[in-house]
Symmetry: C2
Subunit: 162 residues, 2 copies
């Protein structure tokens, strides 16, 4: 995202520093949804350029990665695991099929479903990208520490139950 920093505003006549008796966050920058966004962006700003060099978006990569792990998945399974809504997934899969990275086979027992699988080109792409991903993840670990990552994951999973 890389929003450029600016010098502090010359003046800011009101309310930015007022009391907050309710103790609820009133500045957008202190709200939980934004904090989650900022933290995620800090990570994605490292992964995104790397993936772009391989001509993938982060969503496309999630699909590739899942198909590498599970060999075949249908659209609903991909949507759930990659946390991508079905309409987005339809487009992403169409893109990946057009690039011959993924193939679809209609499921025999339920013809509403399609099973997706990596092509050999898709597998090759995965193998090329994976080491770069590991490298970045290790940088995150080096900065943040395994313990804090584990703690953060725990809190996030808990919050996700809400």
């Amino acid at each position: 995202m890389t929003i450029p920093k600016r010098p502090p505003p010359a003046q800011d006549s009101h309310s930015a520093s007022r009391a907050n008796p309710s103790e609820l966050p009133h500045e957008a920058t202190k709200a939980l949804p934004i904090a989650l966004l900022r933290a995620r962006e800090a990570l994605m700003s490292r992964f995104r350029p790397m993936l772009a060099e391989h001509d993938f978006t982060s969503q496309q990569w999630r699909v590739i990665r899942l198909l590498n792990e599970h060999s075949t998945l249908d659209a609903a399974q991909l949507a759930e695991k990659a946390f991508i809504l079905p309409p987005s997934l339809t487009r992403i899969l169409a893109n990946l099929e057009a690039r011959d990275l993924v193939t679809r086979v209609q499921c025999a027992s339920d013809r509403r479903r399609y099973l997706f699988r990596l092509t050999s080109l898709g597998e090759t792409s995965f193998q090329k990208i994976y080491p770069d991903r590991v490298k970045i993840y290790k940088e995150i670990e080096a900065y943040f520490g395994k313990r804090k990552i584990a703690l953060l994951l725990e809190l996030l999973d808990d919050l996700a139950q809400f």
Copy 2:
């Protein structure tokens, strides 16, 4: 987002449960970026329908809220505080201006800049929505606890420095 749960896959021939000697997350669902996304979505799935009833997206609402707090901001300040990239912000502001919720004034000392301000209609909209927002935030607090929220915010801010 509300991705429907599905029964576990009938069979999953390989690698989903293999050893992971590197101790790096290999399942997409365990990666930090996805965990951040899931947690955020848990929150947004509450805010979004409420905002939609008032005909706002969460991004539009962030802009409205910031202009309520700071009375006037230029685009760069809004982009930084709302964590929205300039091209998106341009469209959002155009939308809000078209709906007469926000006005723009060209800055006299620097004619590249525009200062944005809520209209009275914009202020009214803010006042209508704010109580609903507080209500939802209190539900989050009730579920998650102030202590855990504070801890999570701390970790997220730390990670955002990466």
